[in-house]
């Protein structure tokens, strides 16, 4: 448990740094972000929004820098991320909330599929070295090097534009379905998410395969694996013993991988016009909606930290040594 406490402390520090960066970046860059934001918009920008913007960026207010920083924290702790510029009366929180749901489900499912599938393939490739399965590696390397959004575009072209197997955009058919726990909606949502999930799995699989394979090759030479084999245990059992130990680095390198997956997923969503965070972010960038961009960065960071914490819990569950320490 001490491990988890230490990780919690680390995540708290990370969150603190993320919030601080989010506050200070607009201060570091030259120019007046508020004027830049307003200039590109119609003249009928409500003065209340302008004032709120100035308050948010902390420009021309009477409070000093630290006062503004404290104010920013205060807003944040009350769940207030400011007003969205491009969807003006809406607050950033409401804009993000609806999109976040779609992203977490879709990206979460894709990441889990990719992790499990990649780990299994990696195990098999390591166990059957020198066979045709070695050919998996160069192919998956090519897929990994391919930018997510390019893979997404190709899939879109083949499966949607050409043969119409899958819908080409959106998260569900909003004309005919209502969101809720009803079968037609769920089926439609799954149909819409197949191509994005396929993209994320296809592009991120290689990393898991490679990590697992390299680790399996190392673990294979351990004495306990040799012993298991000498005892003529069934092969599947031996693989299970080795894999349980080899998977640990994969779980703990989740943090690094997640940063990549998040990047890729954002782009994938944009290609498929999936109603998730990525799309909101894209439109926020196009519309120069600074508060929304900043808010999304914070929310994504928090979600990533949460996912990492989950990986830590899984790690403690998988590795008895971490439990013994407590």
């Amino acid at each position: 448990m001490r491990l988890l406490v230490r990780r919690l402390f680390f995540y708290a520090v990370t969150a603190f740094i993320a919030v601080t960066l989010d506050f200070f970046i607009p201060h570091w860059v030259p120019g007046d972000p508020v004027q830049a934001a307003i200039a590109s918009r119609a003249a009928s920008f409500p003065p209340r929004a302008t004032a709120s913007l100035y308050a948010q960026f902390g420009i021309d207010t009477h409070a000093g820098l630290w006062g503004q920083y404290a104010h920013y924290w205060n807003m944040l702790l009350h769940g207030d991320l400011g007003l969205s510029l491009s969807q003006y009366p809406a607050t950033v929180t409401t804009v993000i909330r609806s999109a976040l749901f779609w992203t977490i489900i879709m990206v979460g499912v894709a990441t889990i599929i990719s992790f499990v599938l990649g780990t299994v393939i990696g195990t098999l490739v390591a166990w059957r070295r020198g066979s045709w399965m070695d050919g998996v590696l160069p192919v998956s390397t090519f897929f990994q090097a391919m930018p997510y959004f390019f893979l997404a575009t190709v899939l879109l072209l083949f499966f949607s534009t050409d043969v119409h197997w899958f819908p080409d955009h959106g998260g569900y058919q909003f004309e005919t379905h209502t969101i809720g726990l009803n079968a037609p909606f769920l089926w439609d949502a799954i149909r819409h998410s197949i191509l994005p999930v396929l993209t994320i799995v296809g592009a991120s699989l290689a990393g898991w395969i490679l990590g697992m394979r390299n680790m399996m090759i190392t673990v294979r030479d351990e004495d306990y694996v040799l012993l298991a084999e000498a005892e003529v245990l069934p092969t599947s059992r031996v693989i299970w013993y080795a894999a349980r130990n080899a998977v640990l680095p994969s779980v703990s390198s989740f943090a690094l991988a997640l940063s990549f997956v998040v990047t890729g997923s954002l782009l994938t969503e944009i290609v498929f016009s999936y109603p998730g965070i990525g799309n909101v972010l894209y439109n926020a960038v196009l519309g120069e909606d600074y508060p929304l961009v900043q808010g999304i960065f914070l929310i994504i960071t928090f979600v990533v930290l949460g996912a990492n914490l989950l990986a830590d819990v899984v790690y403690v569950f998988l590795d008895p040594r971490t439990r013994q320490e407590a």
């Binding site: 680390f10 860059v29 070695d134 090519f142 390019f150 040799l226 960038v285 960071t301």
Partner: protein
């Protein structure tokens, strides 16, 4: 030093370097490098791209930004890859785009590598509270989602004027150094207590001198891998930023911004594949070349990964006994002495324990 989850994960990575032959074997080690076909394929591809980056902008038949009254044209004898909706020549854009893409990525890779050397090796070698603080910093930057952070930074950068290449490179490097730093830290931890480092320290060498002349030379392979990985990361990030339109798209023709233009021009929906497939393929191939190089370096660092690079067919061809990878033993096939440098007479099959003995 805190024994966090990540540290445990790195312990196995730190091992292969222990198995490295001492410096006296340098010659034979260098001779082993070309054996991997992957690394040469990767280097060849990369050389092609570098040539493209150097000469591409001069070879472009048209000014990539030149607007002529013509809407999206199919590829023709005159315009090999067709024209955008503004009549710009896509082939010229593609030729010109290699330079900014490669310059930014390699710049970012270089800066990030320097950062990771300074931070990673210092943390690993000096230890104590400095290690705690630096490791924490590296872990924070690993966990922070890089692209959203870069978008926040990028969207506040002044628009209009061309955003300078150097600035973009620095910003990408600032988000990309942490992985390398972590690996280097783990490696220098294992080097710190070796006899030759100890000897240098006892003979009164300054810390920075020990780091530069004793530690860094022993980490060259790891450094190379981390550099290649960071460049790979930088390419992905730079292309993504261009694709999102965060960087001013009109100022350079990086492949990311060509894709941005293509998206804005509804290229996918209208089936204008010649607009977005070539830059996408170019990026994928560039990435593959770097991934292949990294693959080769990995096999170079860790002999166990190399062993099975030999298929049954090749094994027969070079006259090695037929091998079935067995549990507990990683067979390593040495080619007949005449085929390589001929400097050592090694048995055909070496078990892992013997490799360990060499170290």
């Amino acid at each position: 030093m805190t024994a966090s989850v990540s540290d445990m994960a790195e312990a196995p990575q730190a091992r292969p370097s222990d198995a490295k032959p001492p410096a006296g074997h340098k010659k034979s080690r260098a001779a082993r490098l070309p054996r991997s076909g992957k690394i040469w394929l990767g280097i060849g591809l990369l050389a092609l791209f570098i040539a493209w980056a150097i000469f591409g902008p001069w070879l472009a038949p048209f000014d990539p930004g030149q607007i002529v009254p013509a809407t999206t044209q199919r590829p023709s004898a005159h315009h090999w890859l067709g024209q955008t909706q503004l009549g710009q020549d896509i082939w010229s854009q593609l030729l010109a785009g290699a330079r900014p893409t490669l310059v930014v990525s390699f710049l970012a890779g270089a800066i990030a590598t320097v950062l990771s050397i300074v931070i990673g090796i210092t943390a690993g070698y000096v230890g104590g509270w400095i290690d705690d603080v630096l490791s924490m910093l590296a872990n924070v930057f690993l966990v922070l989602p890089a692209l959203p952070l870069l978008i926040v930074v990028g969207s506040f950068l002044p628009k209009g004027k061309s955003t300078s290449t150097l600035l973009i490179g620095v910003v990408i490097a600032l988000t990309g150094w942490a992985w390398g730093a972590r690996v280097l830290r783990a490696q220098s931890l294992s080097l710190r207590n070796r006899d030759f480092v100890e000897a240098a320290r006892i003979s009164g060498e300054r810390t920075w001198r020990v780091i530069i002349f004793e530690i860094v030379p022993n980490l060259v392979a790891v450094l190379a891998a981390s550099f290649v990985f960071t460049v790979l990361y930088a390419i992905g990030t730079y292309v993504a930023l261009g694709f999102l339109g965060v960087l001013d798209p009109a100022t350079n023709w990086s492949w990311g911004s060509i894709l941005y233009d293509a998206t804005q021009g509804q290229a996918v929906a209208s089936g204008l594949w010649w607009w977005y497939v070539p830059p996408g393929l170019a990026i994928a191939l560039l990435g593959t070349s770097l991934a292949l190089i990294n693959f080769g370096i990995d096999e170079f660092i860790n002999p166990r990964l190399r062993a099975a690079g030999i298929s049954r067919k090749t094994a027969r061809m070079i006259g090695a006994p037929r091998l079935r990878p067995q549990l507990g033993f990683t067979p390593v096939v040495r080619r007949p002495a005449s085929a390589t440098s001929g400097s050592h007479e090694a048995p055909d099959v070496v078990t892992t324990s013997q490799i360990g003995d060499q170290a």
